[in-house]
Amino acid sequence: MALPVPMLLAVQEMPVEISGADTAWLLVSTALVLLMTPALGFFYGGLVRSKNILNTLMMSFASLGVVGVAWALLGYSLAFAPGSAWIGGTDYALLSGVGLSGAPAASTVPHVLFMAFQGTFAIITAALISGAVVERMRFGPYLVFIGLWSLVVYAPIAHWVWGGGWLGSLGALDFAGGTVVHVNAGIAAVVAALVVGARQDYGRRALLPHNVTYALLGAGLLWFGWFGFNGGSALGATETAALAFVNTMLAPAATLVMWMILDSLRDRKITAVGAATGIVVGLVAVTPAAGFIGPVAAIVLGAVAALPSYFIILYRSRTRLDDSLDVFAAHGVGGAAGAVLTGVLAAEVWGGAAGPMDGNTGLILTQIIAILGAAAYSAVATLVLLKVLGVFMPLRRTVAEEGVGLDVVLHGEEGYAKGEGAVLVRP
């Protein structure tokens, strides 16, 4: 059979140790994680006003494009190519050397697949930040921001932990991105909310979710996709993947139960927005721990992690900080709580990493160093990036346009157009 020449060469280069099972699982996981970004769009979109639904959805969907391309061209190399303790090199820029043979970080799956799997993480991390600036930020600057942010902020921090950087060498545990994805995005969100500023009506009007059903739909799809996020981070169809998968089911379940208890104690009513939020917080919290702790520990982790996020959400809305969809409370605080609890609950018998119960009491401190290091870099780099961007392009539209709604003003569309009175200009 005559194979096209490049294909033939690639097949010859492929070492025998590529595993069909590992590759199959990572293929599925990549698709699962990719779905999380549209799911996030619906989670966020349901929580904003109807006049901004398309803009909010597009902030997530656009990341699939902008960050997806930026990752392939440069981001992957800066995160995973051999480099210093601080940032990867440019060996894999433009995907050079990223072929069908085993990935250096995961030798049983094709390198190109590993790149794509990691790309889905960069995409959703950038999209997470949008929750802090919805209903007011201009779309052009947002696109430039997330594209550059994925290169300047996400890629280095991913390198620190997973690409052979200083946090990995220090022994910090971050199974699927509690620090790299969630602490990082949560801190960037606070900075973005401060630099872009509060919505015009924030603190003066009730800014209500326009479609709580979307928020629940999004939370459900996020949970589904998260099985790939955490289970896939085992980088193979292994026992660890099974553990991470099961923990991804149990920890958010416990967070959801705890969230409903807290809701009913506070107001005697269990809220749907609260349930959706609780699920996301549980998923965030188990992310750094998924492959390192036992299933009963995951239930403990999920339940405990509900507490700080729950109360910070209540507190935040009384402040002037318009982190509109509580990215900091859900992802920053949930991610940090999960990372610290990873340091408490990690057990050698489950995940192979020694925790305090195995005598490695220093792990908790290492985890805290990792959280603070990532948070500090994310805060400073995001601030500089947004301030510089703000010099070249205004980050917001006028007050009047914000009142009309960003769907019409920025996108020339309406999420719920009735079509009455619409006159065809060009068929």
Binding site: G403, E413, A417, G421
Partner: protein, 121 residues
Amino acid sequence: MKLIVAIIRPDKLSDVLEELYRAKVRGLTVSPVQGHGGELEKVETYRGMTVKMELQEKVRLEIGVSEAFVERTVKAILDAAQTGQVGDGKVFVLSVDNVHRIRTGEVDEQAVTPMSEGAAV
């Protein structure tokens, strides 16, 4: 007594309600409507189809008031709903033949007088 009908921008509704509340105007009806007030058409594009949206989303307020409340009600709406751009809307003040309060059967001025003041008379 008069019936005040106001057509305003939807994003000004909260401001208007707040101003009416401050003016102690109670009892009103709000409905979402579509209309055209001479403003530039919005152009929207869906795939290859470009459309001019001739009708804009507006909100209609209907407020039945006693004579003493006419001026302050109109002023509250004008103050709160104005942006200075075309499309801010209109306020109509209409004469009313009869008003009946369904609950008590009161008619005319009594029927559009807020309960607290009515009780004082």
